[in-house]
Symmetry: C2
Subunit: 213 residues, 2 copies
Amino acid sequence: MAMVEAGKGVRAGSAHKRAAILGAARELFLADGFERTSVDAIAARAGVSKRTVYDYYGEKRALLLAVVEQAMDSLISAIQRSVDDNLTDDLTSVEGLRSALVGFARSVTESALGSSDYSALMRLVSAESANLPELEERVTTEPEDLVSERFLRYGRRGLLEVPNPRLAADHFVALTMASTASAIGRPVAQSDASTRQMIADGVDVFLRAYTPR
Amino acid sequence: MAMVEAGKGVRAGSAHKRAAILGAARELFLADGFERTSVDAIAARAGVSKRTVYDYYGEKRALLLAVVEQAMDSLISAIQRSVDDNLTDDLTSVEGLRSALVGFARSVTESALGSSDYSALMRLVSAESANLPELEERVTTEPEDLVSERFLRYGRRGLLEVPNPRLAADHFVALTMASTASAIGRPVAQSDASTRQMIADGVDVFLRAYTPR
DNA sequence: GTGACACTACACCGTGCAGTGTAGTTAAGT
DNA sequence: ACTTAACTACACTGCACGGTGTAGTGTCAC
């Protein structure tokens, strides 16, 4: 009579090994994709026996799920940090706002997107989401929500003219970040300089469109 | 003494079957991904024996390559058509320009992107390009080139203020189309109405930033 | 009829891989 | 010393799939 514990992990185990396995899986999934990564390879990279991988995670899908979950969390908290650090409440001039926006976009692209883990992660999610419905839940608009909240505040203070803060946030993201991890496809490991230029130009256009007057 | 013909297709064959195989491969690759699609499944869907698939295309990779090639071509020509139909040379007012831009963006999203084949295609390319270096060549900036050429003309006629037409084209694409096939990830089969609204808003912002004065 | 050709049906090989079962080792707790 | 838990090493099952080889069938040209 087997007592089935429905918890995700089968073992309590040393958290250290869990992390090693998860890390190895992350690296390999992001680099080679889900299908092309074997559990044997993950085990080897984690310095752990294949059996242990199964003892911890049960099946390969669970491993992918855990990887995505963790990556999403760290992405969102990185963005949260960028918002807090840059989109502060003490701005008074449009010029101050400009440099705050530039700083914010740079911070995000460097800490999150630029690491190129971001695009790899998104690639992974969209490639596998058809087969892993649970992934859909993790898809989020949190980043845009955070930004739009700040825009709303700036709007109230007269720094921006934003009838629809959420839309403005979408536009800001499109102008400064989306082009960096371009929607038309290419991986683009753009040089630092050109990324900075793109951000400056994007902020420029954004302000031209959303500044009062 | 086997004479090796280095041509891509091993057979001349009935072009009809070639197309059937290619079409089947396209549907399956886009729906399920490269790795998850078996050659047997392609053959079955094309109503052809597996052996024939190999006689025509040699190996699975070649099939993928052909699919991407064909899809890219048809995508580009669809965009070309949208440009020709909408971004005409007879515009005189900013209001005329506005509706031309809206028409253009709608036409593109409907004929190319909206079919959702576009995002599936891009997903496929970026997911497999690591393993298929030949794909890189097919990655193009043609669409943006076409648009920027039109912007340059409008700039000369005083309808737009575009010191850097290519940049303006990037911004236009980002504002109107990229958000549709969003970079943040989700598949987004958005309703027609909301897509239209997004386009109108995007054009609005674009014009606010790029109109003279 | 004879040949050439395009194609199918089918068997087949090799391999890589998800997942399991198990015996044995190590180390800690008592 | 005894028990228990965490792991490893390793063998093994089952399957799916890429790719090939081949015998046979239909069809057209001459």
